[in-house]
Assembly symmetry: C2
Homo-oligomer: 370 residues x 2
């Protein structure tokens, strides 16, 4: 664990509005809270060493076999287990993205190369280059990543990456790789394992690689119940994909990694999914409005997004200073995105909230610019 | 994760009395439950990537520095992190003991040798042999481990084990290595790291290596809040010891491994320790009574213990059959201890409960024998 993260509310008192986390914080959890309170006695006993009942339930939900599911202590454990199961493999990570793929790969001795997502170019927004190339260690030189790359669909060579990690929709850009292009990359590189983190799947209307499609032998999909149900404090994620790949991941598991309250919550949430439906068209419309109005502010650039999160860039100050200003004066938390690989100190990320909350941020930024 | 464990209540319905877990299940958790219910909103936010506030609180409690503490997702995560931090080291594990030391060491490529605890020999109950020897793969031949060994205190040689793992008090024997002997072994092997799992510390009156003493540069102590406060469902443990060793362990951590309800529980429990005091002399006296009465049953051998857990051996049947009989007819769960290295199918383990509950087990066993 090398880098900083969003949702650092624990560092501050009196956060009124939290734009820094990608979790959608407007679900009503009353039913869940009451359920957990009624099941509190479960903490007196060990959880099952692996949450096999929950794995069966999730498998049935997706119409797959239980050996195609591994429930984890948050999607983060999934990332670390996969990196461990494929220790010292060569990995390509599409950047800028969630930092834990790289941290996990480094911990387990992977040779790492970057692909890139291209910000603000609607024609070619990403590069999946399965061919290995030596890593250029220019962490903060965004410019070199912003040039328009060629998407590669060549056949695998001895230098082909063994793993490709991508977050889809991506964090921090919110962008989705068009499904046909991703599926074609998967099909044309059967010897490369695609680890596709779909933690943000509930927050996009773009089609994604689905769990049932992923019958492909070279795909592992990461899912975050944390994000889907807004329960990051409980830690709950899962992997779906090829049973053969997962049997390798399974060997790296420690027992009791998933706590019993998270398991209880998962059973409840899967049975009450209808209480957690999002008005996605409304959220996407609000994202569009927010992006438009932010772009109208002098010196603010907003990058295209397919989800509720927006990557932005501010000129004339740094994201760190903007964050301090907002938190100290208004109790508003944003994500300083300068520590994403390929981004610099001017990038910040926000997750769209309610129109009223979004307007508060817009008005403060407009006033501050004037 | 290779082997079976106790507290497998999740496999059964209607367990009335659970002798299978080493957790003391008679604390009143009403205050904790109410506290957690009142703090439920914490699951809406991420925990801190590492629970640093809790680490500070625990450090202050032990009179050590925060860099001498790592809080973990149960003591199990501590075991796996240490095995990972010292990947491919040579490890000696005092057997029979908790299986996770070996599972973790195997996962991280350690070369493993066994020492042994000797059952039923009050003179020399254990062997810490820091000198490396090739592992004899006779998993179930208890007899070879029961011979009286010589405790070794020679100076380290090129073949000295780099790590020694011991559970003290030990699971499943309940035995404690006399403190002067353990301290002398630590002092005379400065190049060997002693990983001492004190998860059962709250359940013995024997003196143990204390956290403050462990200023020794070659000691890591494992602590289980799970066991101390009877909250195994929440997952909470910690390591104390040399900051230099722990800085190495810290590098292997993933973020958010400890869930926020566990953190909330820990703060509450440390502030309400007085609600969780055990009448240890009474529990030890009950252990003595239980051991005596069990020994009086034909064909049952009870091994000496310094804690509330008792390792037993039954002739004329197997632990698995006894377990089935008890669970199916009486809703009583015991631990089939046959999968501990060095033990065979006749060993079972129980944790002493209330005198009334213990009497139920005694009466059933007596009747069953007749």
């Amino acid at each position: 664990m090398l880098s900083g993260h969003g949702d650092d509310t624990y560092k501050y008192k009196d956060i009124r509005i939290n734009f820094s986390s990608n979790v959608y914080n407007h679900f009503c959890h009353d039913g869940l809270y009451a359920h957990l309170a009624s099941r509190m006695d479960c903490i007196r006993n060990y959880p099952p060493p692996t949450p096999f009942e929950l794995e069966k339930e999730i498998a049935s939900l997706h119409g797959i076999s239980p050996d195609e599911v591994i429930v984890t202590n948050g999607a983060t454990e999934a990332i670390y287990l996969i990196a461990q199961a494929f220790s010292e493999y060569t990995s390509q990570i599409l950047q800028p993205t969630f930092t834990e793929y790289e941290d996990a790969c480094r911990l387990y001795g992977h040779e790492i190369g970057d692909g890139c997502w291209v910000l603000g170019d609607s024609g070619q927004q990403y590069r999946i280059n399965a061919e290995s190339q030596s890593r250029k260690e220019n962490k903060n030189s965004a410019s070199s990543r912003l040039s328009v790359p060629k998407t590669s669909h060549q056949h695998p060579s001895p230098n082909t990456y063994q793993l490709i990690w991508l977050c889809n929709p991506n964090n921090p850009t919110g962008q989705v790789i068009p499904k046909p292009i991703l599926e074609s990359a998967i099909a044309s590189h059967p010897d490369t394992i695609f680890i596709i983190d779909e933690s943000y799947a509930p927050f996009t209307m773009q089609p994604l690689v689905s769990t049932s499609m992923s019958g492909a032998k070279n795909v592992l999909l990461l899912h975050s119940m944390t994000k889907e149900f807004a329960i990051p404090g409980l830690r709950l994620g899962y992997i779906t994909g090829s049973a053969a790949l997962l049997s390798r991941v399974r060997k790296c598991r420690m027992p009791w990694a998933v706590n019993q309250l998270a398991i209880e919550a998962a059973h409840y949430l899967l049975a009450h999914k209808s209480d957690y439906t999002l008005d996605l068209p409304a959220l996407m419309a609000e994202r569009e409005r927010m992006a438009r109005e932010l772009s109208d502010i002098d010196g603010v650039t907003v990058y295209p997004s397919d989800t509720h999160i927006l990557l932005c860039r501010i000129e004339g100050t740094t994201a760190a200073k903007l964050k301090d200003y907002l938190v100290n004066n208004y109790g508003i938390l944003i994500r300083d995105a300068s520590n994403f690989r390929g981004l610099d100190e001017h990038y910040f990320r926000i997750a769209v909230q309610t129109p009223e909350e979004d307007n508060q941020l817009l008005n403060i930024l407009k006033e501050w610019r004037n």
